[in-house]
């Protein structure tokens, strides 16, 4: 993997790296990829999609109205909270 590609993966992951950090991250990343690449050797042709998901079942709760967190509780964990709302920076450029 090249540096540009790692940078674009970082963008997708909403992470930013300084130029100096990127170099080390790239070295580690390539080392790990070379190791996990081994998985490609396996012949998995006999495995079906059904087998991958056989353990999972869709279970849902009864659709009953219940209590969620109160506004007061949310205000205590939100980084910025004013007049009953979580504050974020301006979204629309003017």
């Amino acid at each position: 993997m090249e540096k540009d590609k790692l940078q674009s993966i970082a963008n997708l992951a909403k992470l930013r790296f300084e130029e100096s950090q990127l170099e080390g991250m790239l070295t580690d990343f390539n080392k790990i990829m070379a190791y996990v690449d081994k998985v490609k050797e396996l012949d998995t042709n006999g495995v079906t999609e059904e087998e991958i998901y056989e353990w999972s079942e869709n279970r849902v709760r009864p659709d009953i109205l219940g209590n969620s967190m109160t506004r007061d509780e949310i205000s205590r964990i939100a980084p910025k909270f004013e007049n009953g709302y979580i504050v974020v920076p301006r979204v629309i450029e003017t």
Partner: protein, 485 residues
């Protein structure tokens, strides 16, 4: 008192020979005197603990105890939510986070009257095998404080091994309960996937994560599991199977057992680990158990499969940390995008970022089939291999870790070496099976060795019955250190 086993402490409490306040004071004193050296606890609220203990004692005095466990102290890993307590997951991004709700396991323990000792240190978001990835402190192994306790639940394991608590909760995604239990000479169980609700456990890799107990004896494992297990409307993956109960335990006849071991052991095992492991197998054979070698060659793919699946799930799970609703937010962001990017870049540590990148890559367009898709299929092949093994054997025995505790800093520069610490544990998570690490003697340096016993799905009753038998063997004895150097 603090050097007694869990089962003795429980009896003393129920026979009213000690009070919960006396017990908690003794543990708090032990923590005060030794945790400056071990660093298992990220924080400690003494007043709150003693208040809960006093309430428990008042209940027991009038015969209104909530259960036979009322007043027993239990440690909680810092990724399990307790209402009103800090839950940092060993990360700066959750430094000031106080949970607004109880995890299902906490609600269940609370109903029975357990006394919580929260804040046990861990690798950030449970990503690591040494507890060196905590953003706050490195936990030390009570047997040798120049060495790691294992991870990611290193704080929980070190607290129990250091006799600062009799039992604790951890979480296990690729070995994070079993490996530290092994390196610290105690018992640690990863239950069957779905046995215990994950609601309120901060998610790392949802198809692999499972909460489980640490204890200084097998009784503590069985007791805590009996409280934790069962279905939960808040976790659709919590199984509807009948919950585990202590009545599932029975006497095991060793002479009727069929034990599976690996035919191809590989050359990564320490000589002492190999030696102690085979001595135990020889004892079981001499008692009449049938030992069968199993072809484990497919398991050489387990770590690559694990790292693709776990990181893919973590990149998705950790996208919730965006600096908006809770957790760390960067000061003075210019635009919305900066809130996300800068909060995450400053809040997450190196290993977490590395795993998010790896997961984002294997899920990205053009690479998905070759990595994530292929790993999902390979995971099925691991599951199939176990299904075949359990047609022939009752349990599979392996060392839990190929080595004993390594030195602090020894593997931090090479991520692959660190990942290989989990070479014998990740397969179990991929297949969703129950497995326990139990003490199995010490190496030439006096460091504990662990024995991993894996059973078929939902066979914790059979597994723990076997454990209470095998753990009495002389070869399995490990004495926990009384003085911490």
């Amino acid at each position: 008192m603090i050097f007694k086993k869990y089962s003795e402490i429980k009896s003393l409490l129920n026979e009213k020979k000690i009070t919960s306040v006396e017990l908690c004071k003794a543990y708090l004193k032990r923590i005060e005197e030794n945790d400056t050296k071990i660093k298992a606890f990220l924080y400690l609220n003494k007043e709150q603990i003693l208040e809960a203990a006093a309430n428990s004692d008042s209940r027991r005095q009038v015969g209104k105890q909530l259960s036979e466990f009322d007043g027993i102290p239990i440690g909680i890993k810092d990724n399990i939510c307790i209402k009103g307590e800090r839950v940092s997951c060993g990360s700066k991004i959750l430094e000031n986070f106080v949970s607004p709700y109880d995890a299902t396991v906490i609600a269940k323990l609370r109903e029975k009257g357990f006394i919580f000792f929260p804040g046990l240190n861990m690798d950030e978001f449970a990503m690591g095998s040494s507890t060196e990835n905590s953003a706050y402190q490195i936990t030390k192994n009570p047997f040798d404080t120049t060495r790691i306790p294992g991870g990611s639940s290193g704080g929980s394991a070190a607290a129990v091994a250091g006799s600062m608590l009799p039992i604790a909760l951890g979480s296990d995604t690729g070995g994070s309960i079993r490996q530290p239990a092994s390196l610290c000479g105690i018992f640690g169980l990863k239950p069957t996937y779905g046995r215990v609700s994950r609601y309120g456990l901060v998610a790392y890799a949802s198809s692999l994560d499972q909460i489980g107990p640490f204890s200084n004896d097998p009784q503590g494992i069985a007791d805590v599991l009996s409280v934790l297990s069962g279905s939960d409307l808040n976790d659709s993956t919590a199984s509807m199977e009948k919950a585990f109960s202590s009545s599932d335990l029975s006497k095991t006849d060793l002479s009727k057992l069929k034990i599976g071991i690996m035919a191809n052991e590989g050359n990564e095992w320490d000589a002492d680990v190999k030696d102690k492991f085979h001595k135990i197998i020889d004892v079981l054979r001499s008692k009449g158990a049938v030992i069968k070698e199993l072809d484990f060659s497919i398991h050489s793919y387990s770590i690559p499969i694990y790292y693709i699946i776990a990181t893919a799930e973590c990149s998705s799970n950790l996208s919730r940390f965006d600096g908006i609703r809770y957790g760390y937010r960067v000061e003075d962001p210019k635009k919305l995008e900066d809130v996300y990017i800068d909060s995450r870049s400053k809040g997450f540590g190196k290993e977490v970022k590395r795993r998010i990148l790896l997961g984002t890559f294997s899920l990205s367009s053009g690479y998905y089939d070759a990595y994530y898709g292929q790993a999902q299929k390979a995971r099925v092949m691991i599951k199939r291999s176990y299904a075949e093994y359990f047609k022939e054997v009752d349990f599979i025995l392996q060392p839990t870790s190929p080595t004993t505790a390594f030195k602090i800093g020894e593997k931090t520069q090479d991520p692959i070496q660190m990942y290989k610490a989990d070479v014998l544990t990740t397969s179990v998570n991929l297949a969703g099976l129950p497995a326990i690490s139990i003490p199995a003697g010490v190496d030439k340096n006096g460091l504990p060795i662990g024995l991993q016993i894996t059973a078929n799905k939902f066979e914790e009753g059979k597994l723990l019955s076997f454990v209470s038998e095998i753990s009495t063997l002389e070869e399995c004895k490990v004495k926990l250190p009384e003085s911490i150097e």
